[in-house]
Amino acid sequence: MGRTLAEKVWDDHVVTRAEGEPDLLFIDLHLLHEVTSPQAFDGLRKAGRTVRRRDLTIATEDHNTPTLDIDKPIADPVSRTQLETLRRNCAEFGVRLHPLGDVEQGVVHVVGPQLGLTQPGTTVVCGDSHTSTHGAFGALAFGIGTSQVEHVLATQTLPLAPFRTMAVTVEGELPAGVTAKDLILAVIARIGTGGGQGHVIEYRGPAIEKLSMEARMTVCNMSIEAGARAGMIAPDETTFAYLKDRPHAPKGADWDAAVAYWRTLRTDDDAVFDREVVIDASELSPFVTWGTNPGQGAPLAAAVPDPASFADPSERFAAEKALEYMDLTPGQRLRDVRVDTVFVGSCTNGRIEDLRAAAAVLRGRSVAEGVRMLVVPGSVRVALQAVEEGLDKVFTAAGAEWRHAGCSMCLGMNPDQLAPGERSASTSNRNFEGRQGKGGRTHLVSPQVAAATAVLGHLASPADLTAEPALVA
C-alpha cells in the first residue's frame, strides 16, 4: 500500500524501531527561543550532558522582546533575566543565537524559513506549538515541551508515538478577497479544536497548490488550533523557488540531489488517510472568530450565534461562557462589533506578504479615531524588506504604529498588551481569554480584514471600504 507524505518523512527518520516501543526519530532542525529552553539547559547542566548537534540547532529571541526602544535595556527585569539566560546558555553550550538587535532576529517560525533552514522532508521541532508552520515546506514539524527540548539537545532524537493521518482537501478556487487565514479559520470551525487530535493533517487540492509559501505557512501554522500534531503541504515548484539561493539552502550538486529527493515527497495515489475532510474553497468568505477558542468562528457576514443553537451541551456551555467573556449578544451582526485595537503580526501573519496585504488596504486611508493599530513585522528581515518597499510609510501615514520585530501582542509577554475590556482584531492565532492581556477580547482575522477594521473601527472586510465612508481621524 502507498504511503502518505507524513509517513514518508517519518520513515526516513527512524533511528530505531522495536515492538512495544515508540519509534526513535532523528531531528534535522531544532529551533530554540528564550521561554521554553532555560529549564532544558539546566537539565543538561545537572546531568553533565552537552548539546549533541550544535550544527542542527539555532536560537533567537522573540516572545519577550520589546517592540519599542530596543536599543535601551529591557525595562521588565524578569524578561531581561530570561533573555540573558538564553544568551548565557547559548554561549556556554555553543549554540548559534540571533539576539535582539541582530539582523536575523525575529519570530522563530519566520526566521527558520527565511534562512532556508526549513526544508522539505526534514523533521523540525521547537518548544513552541506553532512549529507546525514549517510543515508548509513538506517538513514534519511539531511543537514540543521543555522536557523534549532537553531530550533533543542531548540526543538529537525523540521517541514518538505513532500518529494518524488526515487529509484536508480544498477543492476549487478561493474567491477574490478570501485569504489563507480565512481558509484555516473555516477549517478549524468545521473540525473543531480537538478535530485534529492525534493526527498529522495534509492540506491538498487545487486551492492549496495555488497558495504562495507565505500563505501555506499561515495555513500550517494554525494546524495546532485544530488540535493536530502537525500540518503539511507537499513541496512543489513554489517551494523550490522560495528556497533557491536562501543562505542555508543546498548549493550546486547538493541542490540537484535535494530537489530530486524533494520531488518524491508526495502522497502516493493509493495511500489511505485515516480521515478525510473536503472543503469547497469557492464557498468561503472572510472569516472571523466571535468566541474564546479558535474553533468559535463564523463568516464576517454572519451574526453572533445563539448558544442554544449548539446541540452538544459542552459546546453550548462553552459558547455561553465565551459570549459572556467577549461581551457579545446572540444575533448581533459581526460587522457591528467595534474594536479599539488592531494587531498585524505574529508567526501566523507577520510575513512580508501579510504586511503588503494590510498596506494595500490602508494606502490613502486612515485608521479610525479611537483605534490603535500596531504593525509588528515577523522578523528584522521582513521589516527591512517592508521599509525598502515603503510599507512602513503607508502604515505610519495611516496612523498605525510601525514597531520592531517579535511575537508582541500575539501573547502579550512583552509590554504590547490589551487593557482589561479592550477589544482587538488580531492577525494572530489564539483568541483565548486573556491571551493578549488580562481581560482583553480578541477576534482573529486576516491582515486584509484587520486593515479594513482599523479604517472603519468595526469588523469589516476591504469590500466594505467602498460601501461606506471612512471615519477620518
Binding site: 533511528v15 530505531t16 516501543e21 515508540p22 526513535l24 532523528f26 521561554v35 521554553t36 529549564q39 539546566d42 546531568a47 550532558r49 548537534r53 550544535r54 550544527d55 542542527l56 516572545h63 521588565d76 524578569v78 524578561s79 533575566t81 548559534r96 533552514l117 526549513t118 526544508q119 526534514t122 518548544g127 513552541d128 506549538s129 511539531f142 514540543i144 515541551g145 521543555t146 522536557s147 523534549q148 542531548a154 540526543t155 538529537q156 532524537t157 521517541p159 479544536t193 480537538g194 487530535q197 500534531r229 542555508h248 543546498p250 547538493d254 541542490w255 540531489a257 459542552s314 459546546e315 456551555f317 462553552a318 461562557k321 509577554m413 489564539r430 483565548f432 481569554e433 486573556g434 491571551r435
Partner: protein, 197 residues
C-alpha cells in the same frame, strides 16, 4: 522523574471544555527560568472569582482534577504541567487531552487519564455532591475508582512502564547511542546545517 503507581485523593470538578494552557498558566508566568514556583499562577484569572471551584474551602488539598473535553489545548508550555504539580495535583481526568500537553504531563509524572465523557460526568456529580469523596487513580490496575464508579483506562504500555518506574527518557535513549551515530553517518549531505555560511 517521580514514579507514579497509584494515588488516592479528593477531586476538583472543573466543568469547562477547551481549558487552554493560557488559562492553566498565563504567559507572564513563563518568564520564570525554574520548574517550580508556578502554583500561584495556576488558573490565575479564574481564581480571582471567589466562587471558582478551586477557591472553595472544601476543595483545599484536593489532588485529582476532573475536567471537560479538550484539556490543555494551545501553547506547548510545559509550565502548565509544572503549575498543576506545584499546586498539588497528581492526576488529571478528561475525555480528551491536547497532544502536546499529554506528552508533557507523562514526562513529568502527572498522570493524565482519558475516560469517556459519561464517566467524567458521573465523577463530577459524585464529587460535587460530596466534596470529601475520594478518587483513586491506579496505574498498576489501569483503573479509576470512586464510590459507585470503577472505570478502566488505556495507556500505552511503554508510557505506563516509564511512569511506574520513574525512568529518565534521555537515559533510555542514550542506550541507543550507536544507532544514533549510525543514522547520522548515513544522512544525505544536502540536509541543512545551522553552521554559519
Amino acid at each position: 522523574m517521580e514514579a507514579f503507581t497509584a494515588h488516592t485523593g479528593r477531586a476538583v470538578p472543573l466543568r469547562r471544555s477547551n481549558v487552554d494552557t493560557d488559562q492553566i498558566i498565563p504567559a507572564h508566568w513563563l518568564k520564570k527560568v525554574t520548574r517550580d514556583g508556578f502554583e500561584d499562577g495556576l488558573f490565575e484569572a479564574w481564581r480571582k472569582d471567589p466562587e471558582f471551584v478551586l477557591n472553595r474551602p472544601e476543595r483545599a488539598g484536593a489532588s485529582v482534577l476532573v475536567a471537560g473535553p479538550d484539556f490543555g489545548t494551545g501553547s506547548s508550555r510545559e509550565h502548565a504541567v509544572w503549575a498543576l504539580q506545584n499546586y498539588g495535583f497528581r492526576a488529571v481526568v478528561s475525555s480528551r487531552f491536547a497532544d502536546i500537553f499529554r506528552g508533557n504531563s507523562l514526562k513529568n509524572g502527572l498522570l493524565t487519564v482519558v475516560l469517556p465523557q459519561g464517566t467524567v460526568e458521573r465523577l463530577w456529580e459524585l464529587t460535587e455532591a460530596d466534596p470529601a469523596a475520594e478518587v483513586t487513580v491506579d496505574l498498576v490496575a489501569r483503573e479509576v475508582r470512586a464510590e459507585g464508579i470503577t472505570a478502566g483506562f488505556d495507556l500505552d504500555e511503554n508510557a505506563r512502564w516509564r511512569l511506574l518506574e520513574g525512568l529518565d527518557d534521555i537515559g533510555l535513549t542514550l542506550r541507543h547511542e550507536a544507532d544514533i551515530a549510525a543514522f547520522e553517518a548515513r544522512r544525505p549531505g544536502f540536509k541543512p546545517s545551522t553552521a554559519l555560511v
